[in-house]
Point group: C2
Chain length 153, copies 2
């Protein structure tokens, strides 16, 4: 569980991303890097069109495909994830992970933490395999109240 990133954290995540891209034979172009930085800075779920607005630069406003392509790229490398239940995107907290993601989403404040599933996922994979189903990717989104909001209630 990671909370707000420090400047050092942010820099580390980005350089980690550089390394991963190089490894994968892909390039973290300025645009992609910029989007990743925006996601990291946001430190929570970000809407595609909001990111788009932040990209606006010299030559007028950016267009939707721009941001969706960058996000697709980041997701392909596991550097970002989509929170399906929010139609929003987050930077991966742990550098990159492609196989499975677990998010705890606070209904009240919107805070969203990436979470380590531990063995729960293994169990699920095994149970599915017994039915002949081969899991490639698992997405878990749990909604409820975060510690802070629970206290406030």
């Amino acid at each position: 569980m990671v909370h707000a990133h420090s400047a050092r954290d942010r820099a580390r995540l980005v350089s980690e991303a550089e390394r991963l891209c190089a490894e994968a034979g892909e390039t973290l172009t300025p645009l992609r890097r910029r989007v990743l930085e925006l996601l990291i800075a946001k430190d929570g779920p970000a809407k595609a069109y909001d990111l788009l607005a932040e990209l606006d630069g010299e030559s007028g406003p950016a267009k939707p495909p721009t941001i969706y392509r960058a996000l697709d790229f980041l997701m392909k490398l596991g550097l970002a994830h989509k929170i399906e239940s929010l139609n929003a995107f987050v930077a991966c907290d742990v550098g990159a992970c492609a196989r499975a993601t677990i998010f705890l989403i606070c209904d009240k404040c919107g805070r969203t933490d990436e979470f380590d599933a531990g063995h729960a996922l293994v169990d699920l994979g095994e149970a599915a395999r017994k039915d002949g189903f081969e899991i490639k990717h698992t997405m878990i989104e749990a909604k409820g109240l975060c510690a802070a909001c629970k206290q406030a209630a």
Copy 2:
């Protein structure tokens, strides 16, 4: 894991739904019932606008709010679920369940089965609670290859 429903299964699910609504002090109106029947008949993920098209009746085509309201109602009672990663809806296989859903979704054929998590969910709930997070609802969507498609590959 339930596969295609027999006519008897379908009837049972609907009467089960009637009972649940009565219990909850809600009414399964003709419209809501119709939507539930469509969902059950479809026996797989259904898009809102496709359901809408099937609703078309005497007085011209149905409008989006009609179907979304019916779906919201069914979901509130746990009679239907939304598959977030597909923007689609399914009837609940087991009559009704509100707390958690697990789906195995075949990337190839689109087949989607509701699955019993067993203890995996309990583990997740406990792990989250250790961080002070109170889970209200968990949604799990696992994608991969179903037995049939794996065999065909």
